[in-house]
């Protein structure tokens, strides 16, 4: 296998019994609507943290963190990473849990490449499955540094792409392309039909999101093409129609391609960030709804994957609330950005 996924997840559903037992206990620490509502009503950041301290890990995670956006971000990211690492220790889960690890790894690689190109100091490191210093050295040209083959190829492709066009966007695109290729490989090898379909939905949403962003940023179609590679799920022509088509045709195109459910109900289409962020929220909520019915399963990988996505979403929601309270954004404005919880 040339992907990061070294083996398939076990078909035997009882292989997940131990980890499901663990996550059943950990699920008590997930966010719920009541807690979110209470945190939203908090008057400031300190009060929001006090409300959220009902979650068993909040005090431990936030206590020593700097009470500013980057400090909170780092603390929450590290908390998710620690949880992920703990769960990935279970050999049965590792093949599917790697999806969440890849999200961090590829984001970190983008940052490392950008730091290398802008010659910025490597002052902050974020959680990753690889050693940051090694990755930095590899990016700087020390090709004998150990890095997984998938990452080596992605970095080489991104640097070569940058050499050609000298546009930082191409790095984003090529790294996203490499990530999405991995997601597809993961879906192709996944024995669980539920997780496989979820990964395909994620894959398609990622392309739709990129197309809408490209339209908003008025990215040239040739540059946008760098994110795409031939796959059976979404055609480049369809994405190009969104990127280059007329504004009034966008909704029509989205509906035509079967994404009606993702359209925001109360937001008129405008080529602006609000529409895009509403669409992104709906995509995340769709993915959450997709996994929610399987949380009650006693066996199989689905509840584990569902829990990891729930935790991932929780971290995002906590970040939205805490940032919102820090910048004193109105309750309604924060609420409009929050994603649905795993447990209502």
């Amino acid at each position: 296998m040339t992907t990061l996924q070294k083996k398939n997840c076990p078909v035997n559903a009882t292989a997940y019994t131990y980890i499901i037992g663990r996550i059943r206990a950990m699920e008590r620490g997930l966010l719920n609507n009541r807690l979110l509502e209470n945190a939203l009503k908090a008057e400031d950041l300190e009060q929001a943290i006090r409300v959220l301290s009902e979650l068993p890990y909040i005090n431990e995670v936030i206590q020593n963190a700097a009470k500013n956006p980057s400090g909170l971000d780092q603390a929450l990211t590290e908390h998710f990473w620690d949880t992920l690492k703990e769960i990935l220790k279970d050999q049965a889960v590792a093949p599917i849990g790697i999806f969440f690890q890849m999200i961090y790894d590829f984001n970190d690689l983008k940052l490392i490449i950008k730091r290398h190109l802008t010659k910025s100091p490597n002052d902050t490191e974020y959680p990753a499955s690889f050693d940051w210093k090694r990755a930095l050295r590899f990016v700087s040209g020390e090709k004998n540094e150990y890095l997984d083959d998938v990452y080596r190829k992605a970095i080489d492709a991104a640097l070569a792409g940058y050499e050609n066009v000298h546009n930082a966007q191409v790095i984003e695109n090529l790294m996203d392309r490499a990530f999405l290729m991995e997601v597809k490989a993961l879906a192709d090898n996944c024995e669980s039909r539920v997780i496989k379909n979820w990964l395909i939905a994620y894959f398609m949403f990622a392309y739709l999101r990129s197309a809408l962003r490209a339209k908003f940023q008025q990215t040239k179609i040739d540059l946008f093409r760098s994110i795409y590679w031939e796959n059976p799920y979404i055609r480049f022509e369809d994405l190009a129609e969104i990127v280059t088509g007329a504004d009034e045709k966008v909704i029509e195109t989205i509906i035509h391609h079967g994404f009606r459910e993702l359209l925001p109900h109360d937001v008129e289409y405008k080529n602006d960030p609000r529409f895009l962020s509403e669409m992104e929220k709906n995509m995340d909520n769709y993915l959450m709804k997709f996994l929610r019915p399987y949380r009650i399963q006693a066996f199989g990988p689905e509840p584990v994957f569902g829990f990891l996505f729930a935790k991932f979403t929780d971290v995002r929601n906590l970040r939205i609330i805490l940032h919102g309270k820090y910048f004193q954004i109105s309750e309604n404005e924060i609420k409009s950005k929050l994603r649905e919880c795993y447990y209502e």
Binding site: T17, Y18, I20, G21, R22, A25, E27, A298, F299
Partner: protein
Amino acid sequence: MFIDGVAFALLGSALAIGLAGIGSAKGVGIAGEAGAGIMTEDPSKFGQVLLLQALPGTQGIYGLLSGFWVLLKLGLFGGTPVAVTSAQGLQILFACLPIAIVGLISGISQGKTSAACIGLIAKRPEETGKAIILPAMVETYAVLSLLATILLLNSIQL
């Protein structure tokens, strides 16, 4: 002829003890895995988890009981073996099958139900009573098969 009959009867006894034992071992193992998972996060659940983990262990006991019943019937404990024809031996073998087969399947099923209910306890400790009832329902069929085996064994005249 004497040896053949005893051999069939002993095979029945071995199947009752062995298959029901395998069912219990698997069931207790499955429930134990779930229990270990929960106790990794919350060791205070040990008491409730142990109770649920022990439930699938009963099939093994029923199998052992049936197996010993056969040995008693054969007089092997007393040192004076009873003469058993092939037909009688086969009758004993068939009489042992209910607990052997049902013990194997119900042990595994009960283990799975127990594991699921251990998950229930992790999320809702106040529902321990209900969590015990659900796997106990599976027990019904193990008890019925034990009853069937005992009645069948008792009906065989040696």
